[in-house]
Structure formats: structure tokens, C-alpha cells
Symmetry: C2
Subunit: 349 residues, 2 copies
């Protein structure tokens, strides 16, 4: 393959020739850490020439030499999902001021793709990885550890206790919902669980079981439906499953908002309206939810802060051998009261 030399790329060598010094001197003059080794006048002359000649440093060459790319990989299920995009902004709010650039990949929650894409990130020499897409038993951490690349998981956690995770208080969220429904008279509560391969689905289901019992309520076997994905269609399907199986309940706790939206729609089409006949709750508090009737009562999580905190931990891991990185950081959640919960209907469905 023919190597096509880019036009007009000015290098350290060019500046060196222009000013009449060695390129190492130019390098030192242009790096804030080393420029005080030099005579101020020389530094000035070099910096002047650099801007005049339109020099732009070649990060590739620099990274090759220093073994640091100043790139962090961000692994997402899907950038178009409004749940994940704010994580990126939160992470970048920390990373950009420090000079890091992020490289975002989308796994579509396919673990094959995730492995492949993490490989891509490693080939590109990322200094660290924020993984918002791990399955609860995610694989290639060993590989990553061999490479010595720090990793934190964001919004989801894994089985591997050695991997720092920043998550929301899934358990507390579910507890708040159960308590809230209970206080309004609901005694028969169903659950549409999320994918159990994800910690979010898993933790929320466990919390549901735990706190139902704890508050003194039964969980009939058929009171739980299992979604394969966190989307509207699965919410609809699960809601219909609950209907068909003849369960009578007055409220459904859905493992996230999208499941809830799907459930409400399907129930509505079956003549069971929310909140008149049944109460429904969500989780996450997606944007625009407040505009969609009947207004989903849900748990607000802090996506931006999950990203921010993940990045803060990661930078500590990348720059120090600080052994005090917390293994799990749990961010507080908050119940958002809207219109999708009412007193139980006398004839529950």
C-alpha cells in the first residue's frame, strides 16, 4: 500500500530546524512539565515558531512513546438509549478537563460484540475503560487485567468483586415503591422483571421478593413475569402474560420505565386502564416521562453522576496505585410521584 504523506504536517523537526535547536529542545519547550528546564527566551522563541507554523502535536507518536493515549473507552449497550447517553456526559465532565478523550462503542447488549469491541479498545491503547454494558457474569476482565487496563462498571455491576462498580440503589428503589404502594392500600402486587443477566434486572427482582416478604405480603408464583429485554415490547408481552395467567393484582412494579410504558399500553388495549383499574410503576425516570399520561410514578436515578463518579474512580486507578478504590459505590435514588398509581380498584384484574 502506498503511504500518502499528509500535506503540510509540521513536526518537531521542522520547528527545530526553523529555530536552530534540537527537536528534543522543542519537545521540552512545548510540554508544560519540561519547559522550565529551558531558558525562557528559547521557550518563547520555540512556542512562537510553533504557533506561527501551525504546529499540532501528533498524539499518536507521543502515545507510542509514553504508553499513554489519554483515551478512555466507554462501553454502552446503545448510545441512542436515553438512559446511557447522560453517563457519557457525566464521565466526560471529569475526563475532558484532564485531557482525556473518550471512545464510545455500542454493544447492543450482545456479549459477543462486547468482547469484540473491548478488543478494539485495547488495540487502540485506551488507558482505561468504563463499562456500562456488562452482563452480571461478564467475561474478558481477565484479559483486561492482563493488559493492566483499569476498568470500572457503571450503572450495572458484575459478579467479579474485584471490579469497582458504580450503581444506583436498585434495592432501595424497589423498597420505596413497595412501601409507597402498600401505604396506598395495595396488597396484591406483581412484578415485571428485567433480564436476569443484567445486574439491574437481577437486583430489582431480588429486592422485590425480599421486601414483599419483609412488609408481610405474599408473592404468588405467577405474580412475576420475566422480560428478555428492557423494552416496550417485552413490557407488553409480560403484562399480557400476567393477564392471561389469571393473576389478580392491583399494582405492577416494572423493572424499568420502558417495560412500564409497554405494559400500560398493552393493558389499556385489553381494557385494563392505568391508573383506574391498575397501578403501574417504573424505574429510571427517563426524560419526557412527565409528559406522557398518566404520568409514570417511578424511581429517579442519577445517570450523569454515575458517569461522573465512574470517571473519577477510573482516573484514580489510571494515575495512582491507590488501593482504596471502593469496590461498589451506590448512588441514592428518589421516588417520583406521578399519576400512574391510585388506590386499588375494588375489582382488581
Amino acid at each position: 500500500m502506498v503511504i500518502k504523506k499528509k500535506r503540510n504536517v509540521v513536526t518537531l523537526k521542522d520547528i527545530a530546524k526553523e529555530v536552530g535547536v534540537d527537536k528534543s529542545t522543542v519537545s521540552r519547550a512545548l510540554n508544560s512539565g519540561t519547559q522550565d528546564l529551558l531558558t525562557p527566551e528559547v521557550v518563547a522563541k520555540i512556542q512562537d515558531a510553533a504557533t506561527r507554523m501551525g504546529y499540532r502535536k501528533n498524539q499518536l507518536a507521543r502515545s507510542l512513546r509514553t504508553h499513554r493515549t489519554m483515551i478512555v473507552g466507554i462501553v454502552l449497550p446503545d448510545i441512542t438509549n436515553t438512559l446511557f447517553a447522560p453517563i457519557v456526559r457525566g464521565a466526560e465532565s471529569v475526563l475532558e478537563p484532564l485531557g482525556y478523550t473518550s471512545m464510545i462503542v455500542n454493544t447492543d447488549d450482545d456479549s459477543e460484540r462486547r468482547n469484540y469491541l473491548i478488543g478494539v479498545l485495547l488495540e487502540r491503547g485506551v488507558d482505561g475503560i468504563i463499562d456500562a454494558a456488562p452482563q452480571i457474569s461478564a467475561s474478558p476482565f481477565k484479559t483486561i487485567e492482563e493488559h493492566g487496563i483499569p476498568l470500572v462498571t457503571a450503572i450495572r455491576k458484575t459478579d467479579h468483586t474485584s471490579i469497582p462498580a458504580v450503581i444506583n440503589d436498585d434495592e432501595e428503589g424497589i423498597r420505596l415503591l413497595i412501601q409507597y404502594l402498600y401505604a396506598r392500600g395495595h396488597r396484591k402486587i406483581a412484578h415485571i422483571a428485567g433480564p436476569l443477566a443484567l445486574s439491574t434486572g437481577n437486583l430489582r427482582l431480588n429486592a422485590f421478593k425480599h421486601h414483599m416478604i419483609h412488609i408481610g405480603l405474599d408473592i404468588p408464583e405467577k405474580a412475576i413475569a420475566y422480560a428478555n429485554r428492557f423494552d416496550e415490547d417485552e413490557g407488553s408481552r409480560c403484562a399480557l402474560d400476567l393477564l392471561v395467567s389469571g393473576l389478580d393484582c392491583s399494582a405492577v412494579i416494572c423493572a424499568n420505565d420502558r417495560l412500564a410504558l409497554g405494559a400500560i399500553k398493552a393493558l389499556h388495549q385489553s381494557g385494563v386502564t392505568c391508573p383506574e383499574h391498575i397501578s403501574v410503576t417504573g424505574f429510571n425516570d427517563l426524560p419526557f416521562l412527565n409528559l406522557i399520561p398518566p404520568g409514570l410514578t417511578t424511581i429517579r436515578i442519577q445517570q450523569f453522576d454515575v458517569g461522573r463518579l465512574s470517571a473519577e474512580l477510573l482516573t484514580r486507578m489510571m494515575t495512582t496505585q491507590d488501593a482504596t478504590i471502593p469496590r461498589t459505590s451506590i448512588l441514592p435514588v428518589e421516588l417520583v410521584e406521578r399519576g400512574s398509581v391510585s388506590k386499588p380498584w375494588t375489582n382488581s384484574f
Copy 2:
């Protein structure tokens, strides 16, 4: 600064030593373009050793040598805006299979930040740039052209006719809306215009003026309000401005959906409800819009395809000196009929 050598990084040299050949031979064996220069057995032996030793190519070193990073920069106003995220997926649907990785930056529609971030991308040696965040008179194209880096703008265009742009048919969208409103009896139509520094705001305003006249309608001076940003708050503010200025109209064409949502809300709070008292239209067809009452009648654009086509053009520019790249590609739009438009109210506001 101390250079910390990464653990266990196996290089071509290591494989070469292991197999007993030169590293150049290893390189050739591992690149599909050159491996037929070699004896099949040697290739096999090398590839075997490579996988056995867990070799992962160092893209940095490769890029430094070949002057190609296989990275494309994607410049967005804001990744959390549901309008832009699909563009990324569209672009990646083309780029990823070709081996490109994308590097996404967020400008927040701040042109200072845009310049800075394009600089970051150039330092990192991107092979091309998809810019979804240019102002209509965007600056550093000269810089980019000096660097010989291909660039296309997506969803927005610039004044620079030499820059290929992939956009939606803004003019046709506005025409469809005016026609649609006219057919339902509306004769007094206002416009909430988007930022005029963006081609979308600009083109839609011009189209509004043009097609109103063309269909035979007047545009009173005060029938146009100007938003400074494409968001709900500005939509509210502009709607109230129209109200206060005493304009009487039966419909408002908003330059995008978010302006429309803000306008509907503000009008509602002032006792002017949509669609009973006034009809409102949007532009873009954001997700979840169908769930928000009264259901915004709007123009559906093809964000994914904008990204896809942009990437297709860009790859042609990156790999060939094809002179036949179209300067402007305009994708078709479609009117989506929902509930926010009705027959004009006898007492327009």
C-alpha cells in the same frame, strides 16, 4: 515522567523470536494484504503463535507508520439529544464493518468548543470528520483542508459550497406543513423560528416565508418569533411573545419538536389549548412523541440515514480522490399526522 511498561504486551518482535523469523515476516503474515507473499506454512505457524501468545496489534504504532488511524471523528452538539444519537449509529453501520472506529465529541453548540474539539480530533489523527454541529458560517474548514482531512456535514449545512452536506429536505417539510394547514382551513399561520446560525433554523424560516407567499398567505411582521436555542424553554418564551404581541393566528409552525412542546405547554398555561384553540406543528419526529398528548403533527426525518449516507460519502472521500462526491444530498421527509392540528377555532387567539 516515568514510563511504566505495560505488563505482558506481546509485540511482533516477541512472535518473531518465538517462531524464529524476522518481525517483518510476522507483520506480513498477520496482514491479510501481504500474507500471500509468504509460504502458507510460515503464515500458519506465525498466526498460531500469535493467538497462542495473545498478540494484539498496536494500532498506534501501525497508524504512526501508515498515516492512517482508521478513526473518524463525529462532532455532535450533544449526544444526549435524541436527535443526534441515531446519526452516530447510522454512521457506524457503515464505518464499523470497514474497520473504522469513531470518536465522538460534544460541542454544546458552542463554536469555541467546536474549534477546540476539532483540534483534538486532528491531534489524534482522525482520517475524516462527520460534523453534525456546524454553524451556517463555520470556521475551521480551512484548517481542516490544510490537513487534508475529508469532512462532511450531517443534518446541517454550511455556507461553504465545497463541503459536502447531507441534510433533510427542510424546505419540503415546511411546504408540506403549510399545505396541510391550508387544506384544513388555516389562513393565519405563525412561525417560531430556530436559531438562524444553524442551517436548519435558517432554511425552515426561509421556506416558511417563501411558501406562505407562494400559497397566497400574508405574513404579518409579528407572526414570526425567533428562538435562540432549539429547546422547550425557548419554545415557551417565543409562544408567549407571540401571544403578548397580540398576534391573532390559528396555527403555529415550530422549527422543531422541542420548540413545539414548549410552545404547547406555555400556551396551555395561558388558557390557549392545543388543538382546541390553536394548532401547532413540529419538525423531526422525536421518539415518544406519539405518546405525548395531543400528539404532535410533525415532519419525520431520517436521522439514521443521514448518518449512514454521510459515512458513505466520507469513506469515498477518504479512500479515493473521487471528484463526483455530491455537494449536497437532500433526504426526503414525510408528514406525520397526529392530534395537534384541527380546524381553525373561530376566535383565534
